[in-house]
Amino acid sequence: MAVAQTDFDTLATADKPQGYWRGVGRRFLRDKVAVAAACVAGGMILMAVFAPWVAPQDPFQGTMIRRLSPIGSEGYPLGADELGRDMLSRLIYGARLSLFMGVTPVLIAFLIGSAIGIAAGYAGGWVNSIIMRVLDVFYAFPSVLLAIAISGALGAGILNGLLSLTVVFIPPIARVAESVTTSVRKLEYIEAAVASGASAFTIVRVHVLGNVLGPIFVYATSLISVSMILAAGLSFLGLGVSPPNPEWGLMLNTLRNAIYVQPWLAALPGVMIFLTSISFNMLSDGLRSAMDIKQ
Protein backbone atom coordinates (compact mmCIF):
# COMPACT_ATOMS: atom_id res chain seq x y z
CA MET A 1 0.00 0.00 0.00
CA ALA A 2 2.72 2.37 1.03
CA VAL A 3 4.72 1.49 -2.07
CA ALA A 4 1.74 2.04 -4.34
CA GLN A 5 1.15 5.39 -2.69
CA THR A 6 4.77 6.47 -3.26
CA ASP A 7 4.62 5.47 -6.92
CA PHE A 8 1.47 7.41 -7.35
CA ASP A 9 3.08 10.48 -5.79
CA THR A 10 6.11 10.21 -8.07
CA LEU A 11 3.86 9.97 -11.09
CA ALA A 12 1.81 12.92 -9.98
CA THR A 13 4.86 15.09 -9.41
CA ALA A 14 6.82 13.89 -12.44
CA ASP A 15 5.19 16.32 -14.82
CA LYS A 16 5.10 19.18 -12.36
CA PRO A 17 8.05 21.56 -12.22
CA GLN A 18 9.54 21.88 -8.76
CA GLY A 19 11.48 24.61 -7.08
CA TYR A 20 15.10 23.82 -6.38
CA TRP A 21 14.87 24.18 -2.61
CA ARG A 22 11.69 22.11 -2.43
CA GLY A 23 13.56 19.33 -4.19
CA VAL A 24 16.44 19.68 -1.76
CA GLY A 25 14.03 19.49 1.19
CA ARG A 26 12.35 16.40 -0.22
CA ARG A 27 15.67 14.60 -0.81
CA PHE A 28 16.94 15.62 2.63
CA LEU A 29 13.84 14.23 4.38
CA ARG A 30 14.35 10.93 2.57
CA ASP A 31 17.85 10.61 4.12
CA LYS A 32 17.20 9.02 7.52
CA VAL A 33 20.71 9.58 8.90
CA ALA A 34 20.69 13.25 7.97
CA VAL A 35 17.27 13.76 9.55
CA ALA A 36 18.47 12.07 12.76
CA ALA A 37 21.57 14.28 12.78
CA ALA A 38 19.41 17.35 12.25
CA CYS A 39 17.25 16.29 15.20
CA VAL A 40 20.27 15.86 17.49
CA ALA A 41 21.78 19.19 16.40
CA GLY A 42 18.39 20.90 16.74
CA GLY A 43 17.94 19.32 20.18
CA MET A 44 21.34 20.67 21.28
CA ILE A 45 20.40 24.14 20.14
CA LEU A 46 17.03 24.00 21.93
CA MET A 47 18.77 22.70 25.03
CA ALA A 48 21.19 25.62 24.93
CA VAL A 49 18.45 28.20 24.40
CA PHE A 50 16.19 26.85 27.16
CA ALA A 51 18.99 25.87 29.56
CA PRO A 52 17.56 27.71 32.62
CA TRP A 53 14.28 25.86 32.24
CA VAL A 54 15.74 22.47 31.41
CA ALA A 55 18.61 22.28 33.92
CA PRO A 56 17.55 20.71 37.23
CA GLN A 57 20.12 22.58 39.34
CA ASP A 58 22.33 25.65 39.45
CA PRO A 59 25.43 24.84 37.38
CA PHE A 60 27.65 27.07 39.56
CA GLN A 61 26.55 25.81 42.96
CA GLY A 62 28.81 23.04 44.24
CA THR A 63 28.66 20.87 47.34
CA MET A 64 32.06 19.63 48.49
CA ILE A 65 30.56 16.46 49.96
CA ARG A 66 29.21 15.52 46.52
CA ARG A 67 32.57 15.77 44.74
CA LEU A 68 32.91 13.29 41.88
CA SER A 69 29.65 11.50 42.62
CA PRO A 70 29.23 8.68 40.13
CA ILE A 71 26.64 8.64 37.38
CA GLY A 72 23.25 7.72 38.79
CA SER A 73 23.70 9.24 42.25
CA GLU A 74 20.54 10.40 43.95
CA GLY A 75 19.65 13.94 42.79
CA TYR A 76 22.64 13.90 40.44
CA PRO A 77 21.57 11.75 37.47
CA LEU A 78 24.89 12.27 35.69
CA GLY A 79 26.98 12.64 38.81
CA ALA A 80 28.85 15.70 40.05
CA ASP A 81 32.15 17.26 38.96
CA GLU A 82 35.36 17.86 40.90
CA LEU A 83 33.74 20.74 42.80
CA GLY A 84 30.51 18.88 43.47
CA ARG A 85 28.45 20.71 40.84
CA ASP A 86 25.62 18.91 39.09
CA MET A 87 27.05 17.40 35.88
CA LEU A 88 23.73 17.33 34.00
CA SER A 89 23.07 21.02 34.61
CA ARG A 90 26.62 21.95 33.65
CA LEU A 91 26.40 19.94 30.44
CA ILE A 92 23.11 21.64 29.56
CA TYR A 93 24.46 25.11 30.31
CA GLY A 94 27.72 24.19 28.61
CA ALA A 95 25.86 23.77 25.33
CA ARG A 96 25.39 27.53 25.26
CA LEU A 97 29.05 28.53 25.20
CA SER A 98 30.21 25.48 23.28
CA LEU A 99 27.71 25.95 20.46
CA PHE A 100 28.31 29.69 20.47
CA MET A 101 32.07 29.15 20.18
CA GLY A 102 31.49 26.49 17.53
CA VAL A 103 28.98 28.25 15.30
CA THR A 104 29.80 31.98 15.50
CA PRO A 105 33.39 31.95 14.16
CA VAL A 106 32.34 29.64 11.33
CA LEU A 107 29.39 31.86 10.47
CA ILE A 108 31.47 35.04 10.37
CA ALA A 109 34.27 33.27 8.49
CA PHE A 110 31.65 31.93 6.06
CA LEU A 111 30.53 35.46 5.20
CA ILE A 112 34.02 36.96 4.90
CA GLY A 113 35.68 33.88 3.35
CA SER A 114 32.94 33.46 0.74
CA ALA A 115 33.21 37.09 -0.28
CA ILE A 116 37.00 36.85 -0.66
CA GLY A 117 36.90 33.48 -2.41
CA ILE A 118 34.12 34.38 -4.83
CA ALA A 119 35.80 37.67 -5.72
CA ALA A 120 39.11 35.88 -6.33
CA GLY A 121 37.51 33.05 -8.29
CA TYR A 122 35.41 35.31 -10.47
CA ALA A 123 38.20 37.79 -11.15
CA GLY A 124 40.68 35.02 -11.99
CA GLY A 125 44.18 35.69 -13.32
CA TRP A 126 46.51 37.91 -11.33
CA VAL A 127 43.95 39.10 -8.80
CA ASN A 128 43.15 35.50 -7.96
CA SER A 129 46.83 34.57 -7.60
CA ILE A 130 47.60 37.47 -5.29
CA ILE A 131 44.60 36.88 -3.02
CA MET A 132 45.18 33.14 -2.82
CA ARG A 133 48.93 33.45 -2.16
CA VAL A 134 48.25 35.87 0.70
CA LEU A 135 45.80 33.35 2.16
CA ASP A 136 48.41 30.63 1.73
CA VAL A 137 50.55 32.46 4.28
CA PHE A 138 47.91 31.60 6.88
CA TYR A 139 48.02 28.01 5.71
CA ALA A 140 51.67 27.79 6.67
CA PHE A 141 50.65 27.66 10.35
CA PRO A 142 48.79 24.71 11.84
CA SER A 143 45.31 25.93 12.72
CA VAL A 144 45.70 25.25 16.46
CA LEU A 145 48.96 27.16 16.58
CA LEU A 146 47.50 30.08 14.66
CA ALA A 147 44.47 30.26 16.97
CA ILE A 148 46.71 30.15 20.04
CA ALA A 149 49.07 32.77 18.63
CA ILE A 150 46.29 35.23 17.81
CA SER A 151 44.45 34.60 21.08
CA GLY A 152 47.69 34.92 23.00
CA ALA A 153 48.51 38.21 21.32
CA LEU A 154 45.05 39.63 21.93
CA GLY A 155 44.72 38.30 25.48
CA ALA A 156 42.24 35.95 27.13
CA GLY A 157 38.49 36.28 26.75
CA ILE A 158 35.61 34.89 24.77
CA LEU A 159 35.59 37.71 22.23
CA ASN A 160 39.30 37.37 21.44
CA GLY A 161 38.84 33.61 21.23
CA LEU A 162 36.06 34.13 18.70
CA LEU A 163 38.18 36.54 16.71
CA SER A 164 41.15 34.18 16.52
CA LEU A 165 38.95 31.25 15.44
CA THR A 166 37.34 33.40 12.76
CA VAL A 167 40.75 34.29 11.38
CA VAL A 168 41.68 30.61 11.37
CA PHE A 169 38.60 29.63 9.35
CA ILE A 170 38.65 32.37 6.72
CA PRO A 171 41.46 30.86 4.56
CA PRO A 172 39.98 27.35 4.19
CA ILE A 173 36.50 28.71 3.46
CA ALA A 174 37.92 31.24 1.00
CA ARG A 175 39.85 28.48 -0.70
CA VAL A 176 36.75 26.31 -1.13
CA ALA A 177 34.80 29.36 -2.32
CA GLU A 178 37.55 30.16 -4.81
CA SER A 179 37.70 26.65 -6.26
CA VAL A 180 33.91 26.32 -6.56
CA THR A 181 33.64 29.77 -8.16
CA THR A 182 36.50 29.05 -10.56
CA SER A 183 34.77 25.90 -11.77
CA VAL A 184 31.42 27.68 -12.16
CA ARG A 185 33.14 30.61 -13.88
CA LYS A 186 34.23 28.37 -16.73
CA LEU A 187 30.71 27.13 -17.48
CA GLU A 188 28.98 28.38 -20.56
CA TYR A 189 26.02 29.91 -18.74
CA ILE A 190 28.42 32.44 -17.25
CA GLU A 191 29.77 33.13 -20.74
CA ALA A 192 26.19 33.51 -21.93
CA ALA A 193 25.59 36.00 -19.11
CA VAL A 194 28.72 37.92 -20.10
CA ALA A 195 27.46 37.90 -23.68
CA SER A 196 24.24 39.48 -22.42
CA GLY A 197 26.21 42.58 -21.49
CA ALA A 198 25.50 42.29 -17.75
CA SER A 199 28.01 43.77 -15.28
CA ALA A 200 30.29 41.50 -13.25
CA PHE A 201 28.34 42.37 -10.11
CA THR A 202 25.00 41.37 -11.66
CA ILE A 203 26.48 38.14 -13.00
CA VAL A 204 27.88 37.22 -9.59
CA ARG A 205 24.62 38.11 -7.86
CA VAL A 206 22.26 36.37 -10.29
CA HIS A 207 24.28 33.51 -11.74
CA VAL A 208 27.22 32.76 -9.45
CA LEU A 209 25.98 33.10 -5.87
CA GLY A 210 23.14 30.59 -6.11
CA ASN A 211 25.46 27.99 -7.56
CA VAL A 212 28.39 28.35 -5.18
CA LEU A 213 26.89 29.21 -1.77
CA GLY A 214 25.47 25.70 -1.30
CA PRO A 215 28.79 23.83 -1.49
CA ILE A 216 30.57 26.52 0.57
CA PHE A 217 27.87 26.36 3.22
CA VAL A 218 28.12 22.58 3.38
CA TYR A 219 31.87 22.85 3.87
CA ALA A 220 31.39 25.50 6.55
CA THR A 221 29.01 23.30 8.56
CA SER A 222 31.70 20.63 8.61
CA LEU A 223 34.01 23.17 10.29
CA ILE A 224 31.64 23.69 13.23
CA SER A 225 32.94 20.59 14.97
CA VAL A 226 36.55 21.67 14.41
CA SER A 227 35.71 25.07 15.80
CA MET A 228 34.18 23.55 18.93
CA ILE A 229 37.26 21.44 19.53
CA LEU A 230 39.65 24.35 18.91
CA ALA A 231 37.60 26.53 21.26
CA ALA A 232 37.90 23.81 23.89
CA GLY A 233 41.65 23.79 23.38
CA LEU A 234 41.85 27.56 23.80
CA SER A 235 39.81 27.34 26.99
CA PHE A 236 42.18 24.71 28.35
CA LEU A 237 45.10 27.07 27.87
CA GLY A 238 43.21 29.80 29.64
CA LEU A 239 42.72 31.77 26.42
CA GLY A 240 39.05 31.23 25.71
CA VAL A 241 36.32 30.62 28.24
CA SER A 242 37.51 30.83 31.84
CA PRO A 243 36.22 28.91 34.86
CA PRO A 244 33.74 28.66 36.48
CA ASN A 245 31.76 29.11 33.26
CA PRO A 246 30.51 25.77 31.98
CA GLU A 247 31.93 24.92 28.57
CA TRP A 248 32.42 21.35 27.37
CA GLY A 249 36.06 21.70 26.41
CA LEU A 250 36.92 23.41 29.65
CA MET A 251 34.97 20.80 31.63
CA LEU A 252 36.79 18.00 29.85
CA ASN A 253 40.08 19.55 30.85
CA THR A 254 39.26 20.29 34.47
CA LEU A 255 37.97 16.74 34.88
CA ARG A 256 41.05 15.14 33.36
CA ASN A 257 42.51 14.27 36.79
CA ALA A 258 39.32 12.41 37.69
CA ILE A 259 39.77 10.01 34.80
CA TYR A 260 41.21 7.35 37.16
CA VAL A 261 38.49 7.79 39.77
CA GLN A 262 35.38 8.34 37.65
CA PRO A 263 36.29 7.61 34.02
CA TRP A 264 32.70 7.65 32.76
CA LEU A 265 31.99 10.96 34.45
CA ALA A 266 35.16 12.52 33.08
CA ALA A 267 34.24 11.38 29.58
CA LEU A 268 30.79 13.02 29.57
CA PRO A 269 31.79 16.44 28.13
CA GLY A 270 33.73 14.57 25.45
CA VAL A 271 30.61 12.58 24.64
CA MET A 272 28.70 15.84 24.20
CA ILE A 273 31.37 17.30 21.91
CA PHE A 274 31.43 14.07 19.95
CA LEU A 275 27.64 13.94 19.60
CA THR A 276 27.36 17.55 18.52
CA SER A 277 30.25 17.51 16.07
CA ILE A 278 29.24 14.22 14.48
CA SER A 279 25.66 15.39 14.08
CA PHE A 280 26.83 18.64 12.44
CA ASN A 281 29.10 16.64 10.15
CA MET A 282 26.36 14.24 9.14
CA LEU A 283 24.00 17.14 8.69
CA SER A 284 26.43 18.72 6.25
CA ASP A 285 26.88 15.39 4.47
CA GLY A 286 23.12 15.05 4.12
CA LEU A 287 22.85 18.62 2.87
CA ARG A 288 25.53 18.00 0.30
CA SER A 289 23.85 14.96 -1.19
CA ALA A 290 20.43 16.64 -1.03
CA MET A 291 21.80 19.60 -2.96
CA ASP A 292 23.25 17.38 -5.65
CA ILE A 293 20.89 18.26 -8.45
CA LYS A 294 21.62 15.23 -10.59
CA GLN A 295 19.97 12.76 -8.23
Binding site: P17, S196, G197, A198
Partner: protein, 324 residues
Protein backbone atom coordinates in the same frame (compact mmCIF):
# COMPACT_ATOMS: atom_id res chain seq x y z
CA UNK B 1 32.78 45.63 -48.38
CA UNK B 2 30.19 48.07 -47.14
CA UNK B 3 27.32 45.61 -46.72
CA UNK B 4 29.20 43.50 -44.17
CA UNK B 5 27.26 43.36 -40.90
CA UNK B 6 30.09 41.73 -38.98
CA UNK B 7 33.70 41.52 -40.00
CA UNK B 8 36.92 40.23 -38.51
CA UNK B 9 40.12 42.11 -39.28
CA UNK B 10 43.42 40.29 -38.71
CA UNK B 11 42.25 38.67 -35.48
CA UNK B 12 45.05 37.10 -33.46
CA UNK B 13 44.61 35.18 -30.23
CA UNK B 14 47.50 33.45 -28.51
CA UNK B 15 47.09 31.54 -25.29
CA UNK B 16 49.92 31.32 -22.81
CA UNK B 17 50.93 27.66 -22.56
CA UNK B 18 53.64 27.78 -19.90
CA UNK B 19 57.18 29.05 -19.61
CA UNK B 20 58.38 32.59 -19.08
CA UNK B 21 60.79 34.93 -20.78
CA UNK B 22 62.63 33.28 -23.65
CA UNK B 23 61.03 29.90 -22.89
CA UNK B 24 57.52 31.37 -23.03
CA UNK B 25 55.28 29.17 -25.16
CA UNK B 26 52.05 30.26 -26.75
CA UNK B 27 49.29 28.36 -28.49
CA UNK B 28 48.53 30.20 -31.71
CA UNK B 29 44.81 29.46 -31.49
CA UNK B 30 43.79 32.07 -34.02
CA UNK B 31 46.43 33.65 -36.26
CA UNK B 32 45.59 36.56 -38.52
CA UNK B 33 42.01 35.66 -39.36
CA UNK B 34 39.98 38.06 -41.50
CA UNK B 35 36.56 37.62 -43.05
CA UNK B 36 33.24 39.31 -43.29
CA UNK B 37 29.62 38.28 -43.14
CA UNK B 38 26.91 40.05 -45.12
CA UNK B 39 23.55 40.85 -43.58
CA UNK B 40 21.13 37.93 -43.81
CA UNK B 41 23.65 35.35 -44.92
CA UNK B 42 24.84 32.24 -43.13
CA UNK B 43 28.55 31.65 -42.97
CA UNK B 44 29.52 28.09 -42.16
CA UNK B 45 32.84 27.54 -40.40
CA UNK B 46 34.40 24.10 -40.60
CA UNK B 47 37.67 22.49 -39.56
CA UNK B 48 39.15 19.76 -37.41
CA UNK B 49 39.10 19.88 -33.60
CA UNK B 50 41.54 22.46 -32.29
CA UNK B 51 41.67 24.51 -35.48
CA UNK B 52 40.44 27.63 -33.67
CA UNK B 53 36.75 27.55 -34.59
CA UNK B 54 35.47 28.09 -31.06
CA UNK B 55 38.14 30.69 -30.28
CA UNK B 56 37.07 32.56 -33.42
CA UNK B 57 33.46 32.42 -32.19
CA UNK B 58 34.43 33.85 -28.82
CA UNK B 59 36.53 36.57 -30.44
CA UNK B 60 33.62 37.53 -32.68
CA UNK B 61 31.29 37.88 -29.69
CA UNK B 62 34.01 39.60 -27.65
CA UNK B 63 33.89 36.95 -24.95
CA UNK B 64 37.66 36.85 -25.51
CA UNK B 65 39.71 39.92 -26.22
CA UNK B 66 41.99 39.47 -29.24
CA UNK B 67 45.75 40.03 -28.88
CA UNK B 68 45.51 42.13 -31.98
CA UNK B 69 43.02 42.84 -34.71
CA UNK B 70 39.44 43.96 -34.38
CA UNK B 71 35.84 42.97 -34.86
CA UNK B 72 33.63 45.46 -36.65
CA UNK B 73 29.88 45.64 -36.42
CA UNK B 74 28.42 47.50 -39.42
CA UNK B 75 31.84 48.91 -40.07
CA UNK B 76 32.41 50.22 -36.56
CA UNK B 77 34.95 48.70 -34.20
CA UNK B 78 33.34 46.73 -31.37
CA UNK B 79 34.44 47.80 -27.92
CA UNK B 80 35.55 51.29 -28.97
CA UNK B 81 33.29 52.74 -31.65
CA UNK B 82 30.36 50.56 -30.60
CA UNK B 83 30.12 50.16 -26.81
CA UNK B 84 30.36 46.51 -25.79
CA UNK B 85 26.95 46.52 -24.16
CA UNK B 86 25.30 47.69 -27.38
CA UNK B 87 27.42 45.30 -29.43
CA UNK B 88 26.31 42.38 -27.27
CA UNK B 89 22.66 43.16 -27.84
CA UNK B 90 23.25 42.86 -31.59
CA UNK B 91 25.60 39.89 -31.66
CA UNK B 92 24.50 36.87 -29.66
CA UNK B 93 25.84 33.38 -29.25
CA UNK B 94 24.46 29.84 -28.79
CA UNK B 95 26.86 27.35 -27.23
CA UNK B 96 27.44 23.68 -27.87
CA UNK B 97 26.66 22.30 -24.42
CA UNK B 98 22.96 22.99 -23.91
CA UNK B 99 23.12 21.94 -20.27
CA UNK B 100 26.21 23.90 -19.22
CA UNK B 101 24.94 27.00 -20.95
CA UNK B 102 21.88 27.23 -18.69
CA UNK B 103 22.06 28.23 -15.05
CA UNK B 104 20.91 25.11 -13.14
CA UNK B 105 19.14 27.27 -10.54
CA UNK B 106 17.14 29.32 -12.98
CA UNK B 107 13.81 28.49 -14.59
CA UNK B 108 13.63 28.55 -18.37
CA UNK B 109 11.44 31.63 -18.34
CA UNK B 110 13.88 33.54 -16.14
CA UNK B 111 16.83 32.37 -18.24
CA UNK B 112 15.27 33.87 -21.36
CA UNK B 113 14.08 37.00 -19.51
CA UNK B 114 17.47 37.74 -17.90
CA UNK B 115 19.09 39.33 -20.97
CA UNK B 116 16.46 41.99 -21.64
CA UNK B 117 16.38 43.01 -17.96
CA UNK B 118 20.10 43.76 -18.25
CA UNK B 119 19.24 46.18 -21.02
CA UNK B 120 16.68 48.05 -18.97
CA UNK B 121 13.42 46.28 -19.77
CA UNK B 122 11.36 45.74 -16.64
CA UNK B 123 11.02 42.23 -15.27
CA UNK B 124 7.32 41.70 -15.94
CA UNK B 125 7.65 42.83 -19.56
CA UNK B 126 10.80 40.72 -20.04
CA UNK B 127 9.01 37.65 -18.70
CA UNK B 128 6.03 38.27 -20.95
CA UNK B 129 8.31 38.47 -23.98
CA UNK B 130 10.24 35.41 -22.78
CA UNK B 131 6.96 33.46 -22.74
CA UNK B 132 6.23 34.52 -26.31
CA UNK B 133 9.75 33.50 -27.39
CA UNK B 134 9.47 30.08 -25.76
CA UNK B 135 6.23 29.65 -27.67
CA UNK B 136 8.02 30.66 -30.87
CA UNK B 137 10.76 28.07 -30.45
CA UNK B 138 8.12 25.41 -29.93
CA UNK B 139 7.96 25.15 -26.14
CA UNK B 140 4.67 25.72 -24.31
CA UNK B 141 5.53 28.54 -21.86
CA UNK B 142 2.99 27.35 -19.29
CA UNK B 143 4.57 23.92 -19.23
CA UNK B 144 8.26 24.67 -19.81
CA UNK B 145 8.55 28.21 -18.41
CA UNK B 146 8.76 27.18 -14.75
CA UNK B 147 11.11 24.24 -15.39
CA UNK B 148 14.77 23.84 -14.56
CA UNK B 149 17.43 22.72 -17.08
CA UNK B 150 17.75 19.20 -15.66
CA UNK B 151 14.04 18.62 -16.11
CA UNK B 152 13.99 18.93 -19.91
CA UNK B 153 15.71 17.22 -22.84
CA UNK B 154 18.78 18.37 -24.75
CA UNK B 155 16.79 19.48 -27.77
CA UNK B 156 14.40 21.44 -25.60
CA UNK B 157 17.30 23.07 -23.77
CA UNK B 158 18.90 24.11 -27.03
CA UNK B 159 15.58 25.68 -28.08
CA UNK B 160 15.64 27.63 -24.82
CA UNK B 161 19.19 28.75 -25.59
CA UNK B 162 18.06 29.95 -29.00
CA UNK B 163 15.13 31.79 -27.39
CA UNK B 164 17.55 33.38 -24.94
CA UNK B 165 19.70 34.67 -27.80
CA UNK B 166 16.59 35.91 -29.65
CA UNK B 167 15.42 37.80 -26.55
CA UNK B 168 17.96 40.53 -27.33
CA UNK B 169 16.46 40.91 -30.80
CA UNK B 170 19.94 40.50 -32.31
CA UNK B 171 21.08 40.81 -35.92
CA UNK B 172 23.81 38.21 -35.74
CA UNK B 173 23.85 34.88 -33.92
CA UNK B 174 27.07 32.91 -33.60
CA UNK B 175 26.17 29.23 -33.31
CA UNK B 176 29.15 27.35 -31.90
CA UNK B 177 28.47 23.66 -32.60
CA UNK B 178 24.92 24.45 -31.53
CA UNK B 179 23.39 21.26 -32.93
CA UNK B 180 26.40 18.93 -32.73
CA UNK B 181 25.46 17.37 -29.41
CA UNK B 182 21.87 16.59 -30.42
CA UNK B 183 20.35 13.40 -31.80
CA UNK B 184 20.03 13.40 -35.58
CA UNK B 185 16.23 13.77 -35.57
CA UNK B 186 16.30 16.54 -32.97
CA UNK B 187 19.18 18.18 -34.82
CA UNK B 188 17.04 18.36 -37.96
CA UNK B 189 14.18 19.97 -36.03
CA UNK B 190 16.46 22.58 -34.52
CA UNK B 191 18.06 23.28 -37.91
CA UNK B 192 14.63 23.82 -39.43
CA UNK B 193 13.75 26.15 -36.56
CA UNK B 194 16.96 28.11 -37.19
CA UNK B 195 16.16 28.38 -40.92
CA UNK B 196 12.63 29.63 -40.18
CA UNK B 197 13.87 32.16 -37.66
CA UNK B 198 16.46 33.47 -40.07
CA UNK B 199 13.84 34.15 -42.70
CA UNK B 200 11.38 35.60 -40.20
CA UNK B 201 13.80 37.97 -38.49
CA UNK B 202 16.40 38.54 -41.18
CA UNK B 203 19.10 37.06 -38.98
CA UNK B 204 22.72 36.55 -39.90
CA UNK B 205 24.27 33.30 -38.71
CA UNK B 206 27.83 32.26 -38.20
CA UNK B 207 27.40 28.53 -38.05
CA UNK B 208 30.34 26.65 -36.63
CA UNK B 209 30.34 22.89 -36.97
CA UNK B 210 32.51 19.92 -37.74
CA UNK B 211 29.62 18.28 -39.56
CA UNK B 212 30.13 19.04 -43.25
CA UNK B 213 26.68 17.82 -44.28
CA UNK B 214 24.94 20.15 -41.86
CA UNK B 215 27.10 23.08 -42.90
CA UNK B 216 26.34 22.42 -46.56
CA UNK B 217 22.62 22.32 -45.77
CA UNK B 218 22.45 25.61 -43.90
CA UNK B 219 25.25 27.86 -45.21
CA UNK B 220 25.42 30.38 -48.02
CA UNK B 221 29.18 30.57 -47.74
CA UNK B 222 31.72 28.35 -46.06
CA UNK B 223 34.98 29.16 -44.35
CA UNK B 224 37.53 26.38 -43.80
CA UNK B 225 40.01 26.75 -40.96
CA UNK B 226 43.24 24.89 -40.31
CA UNK B 227 45.56 25.45 -37.33
CA UNK B 228 44.21 28.89 -36.52
CA UNK B 229 44.20 30.16 -40.10
CA UNK B 230 41.58 30.54 -42.79
CA UNK B 231 42.58 28.27 -45.67
CA UNK B 232 39.62 28.73 -47.93
CA UNK B 233 36.46 30.78 -47.99
CA UNK B 234 33.81 30.87 -50.68
CA UNK B 235 30.23 30.14 -51.73
CA UNK B 236 28.99 26.82 -50.38
CA UNK B 237 28.40 25.16 -53.75
CA UNK B 238 31.79 26.17 -55.11
CA UNK B 239 33.60 24.99 -51.99
CA UNK B 240 31.86 21.62 -52.02
CA UNK B 241 32.06 21.07 -55.77
CA UNK B 242 35.40 22.59 -56.67
CA UNK B 243 37.56 23.09 -53.59
CA UNK B 244 40.75 24.99 -54.38
CA UNK B 245 42.72 24.10 -51.28
CA UNK B 246 44.03 20.53 -50.78
CA UNK B 247 42.92 20.63 -47.15
CA UNK B 248 39.32 21.39 -48.11
CA UNK B 249 39.54 18.57 -50.63
CA UNK B 250 40.79 16.17 -47.96
CA UNK B 251 38.04 17.22 -45.54
CA UNK B 252 35.39 16.63 -48.20
CA UNK B 253 36.90 13.29 -49.13
CA UNK B 254 36.64 12.28 -45.48
CA UNK B 255 32.88 12.83 -45.51
CA UNK B 256 31.10 9.49 -45.13
CA UNK B 257 29.30 8.45 -48.28
CA UNK B 258 26.10 6.42 -48.45
CA UNK B 259 27.06 4.98 -51.81
CA UNK B 260 28.91 1.65 -51.36
CA UNK B 261 30.74 2.14 -54.64
CA UNK B 262 32.15 5.43 -53.42
CA UNK B 263 33.16 4.37 -49.95
CA UNK B 264 36.21 5.96 -48.44
CA UNK B 265 38.88 3.27 -48.41
CA UNK B 266 41.83 5.26 -47.22
CA UNK B 267 41.91 8.12 -44.75
CA UNK B 268 42.53 11.21 -46.91
CA UNK B 269 44.47 12.86 -44.08
CA UNK B 270 47.12 11.06 -42.09
CA UNK B 271 47.76 11.67 -38.43
CA UNK B 272 46.80 14.58 -36.20
CA UNK B 273 47.21 18.26 -36.96
CA UNK B 274 50.64 19.63 -35.92
CA UNK B 275 51.03 21.28 -32.54
CA UNK B 276 49.72 24.87 -32.66
CA UNK B 277 52.43 25.85 -30.13
CA UNK B 278 55.01 25.31 -32.84
CA UNK B 279 53.23 25.42 -36.21
CA UNK B 280 55.06 24.32 -39.39
CA UNK B 281 56.88 26.94 -41.40
CA UNK B 282 55.47 28.39 -44.59
CA UNK B 283 52.08 26.92 -45.37
CA UNK B 284 50.93 25.28 -42.14
CA UNK B 285 49.34 22.42 -44.03
CA UNK B 286 52.48 21.34 -45.95
CA UNK B 287 53.35 18.56 -43.47
CA UNK B 288 50.16 16.68 -44.31
CA UNK B 289 49.56 17.87 -47.85
CA UNK B 290 49.77 15.34 -50.71
CA UNK B 291 50.57 18.12 -53.16
CA UNK B 292 53.23 19.96 -51.18
CA UNK B 293 56.05 21.22 -53.36
CA UNK B 294 58.89 23.76 -53.53
CA UNK B 295 57.55 26.98 -51.97
CA UNK B 296 55.22 25.32 -49.44
CA UNK B 297 57.62 24.86 -46.47
CA UNK B 298 59.34 28.17 -47.24
CA UNK B 299 56.71 30.84 -47.22
CA UNK B 300 53.04 31.18 -46.45
CA UNK B 301 50.87 31.43 -49.56
CA UNK B 302 48.67 34.30 -48.37
CA UNK B 303 45.09 34.75 -49.54
CA UNK B 304 44.70 34.22 -53.26
CA UNK B 305 41.46 35.09 -55.02
CA UNK B 306 40.47 32.11 -57.13
CA UNK B 307 36.98 33.10 -58.18
CA UNK B 308 34.04 35.31 -57.33
CA UNK B 309 34.19 35.85 -53.53
CA UNK B 310 36.30 32.71 -53.39
CA UNK B 311 39.66 32.83 -51.66
CA UNK B 312 42.09 29.99 -51.06
CA UNK B 313 45.45 30.14 -49.30
CA UNK B 314 47.44 27.68 -51.40
CA UNK B 315 50.47 27.99 -53.67
CA UNK B 316 48.79 25.73 -56.24
CA UNK B 317 46.51 28.62 -57.06
CA UNK B 318 49.30 31.09 -57.59
CA UNK B 319 49.45 32.40 -61.13
CA UNK B 320 52.92 31.52 -62.50
CA UNK B 321 55.13 34.60 -62.79
CA UNK B 322 56.03 33.86 -66.42
CA UNK B 323 52.42 33.79 -67.58
CA UNK B 324 51.62 37.29 -66.35
Amino acid sequence: MSDAILSAHNLVKHFHAGGWGAARKVVRAVDDVSFEVAEGETLGVVGESGCGKSTTARLLTHLLAPNSGEVRYRGRVAGTEVPLKTFRRHVQMVFQDSYASLNPRMTMLDAVAFGPTVHGIDRAEARRRAGALLERVGLDPARFGPRYPHEISGGQRQRVNIARALAFDPDVIVLDEAVSALDKSVEAQVLNLLTELRRERNLTYIFISHDLNVVRHISDRVMVMYLGEVVEIGPTRTIYDRPRHPYTGALLAAMPSLDPDRRTLEAPLQGDPPNPIDPPSGCRFHTRCAQAHGPCPLHAPGSIAVGHRHIAACHLNAVPEAAT
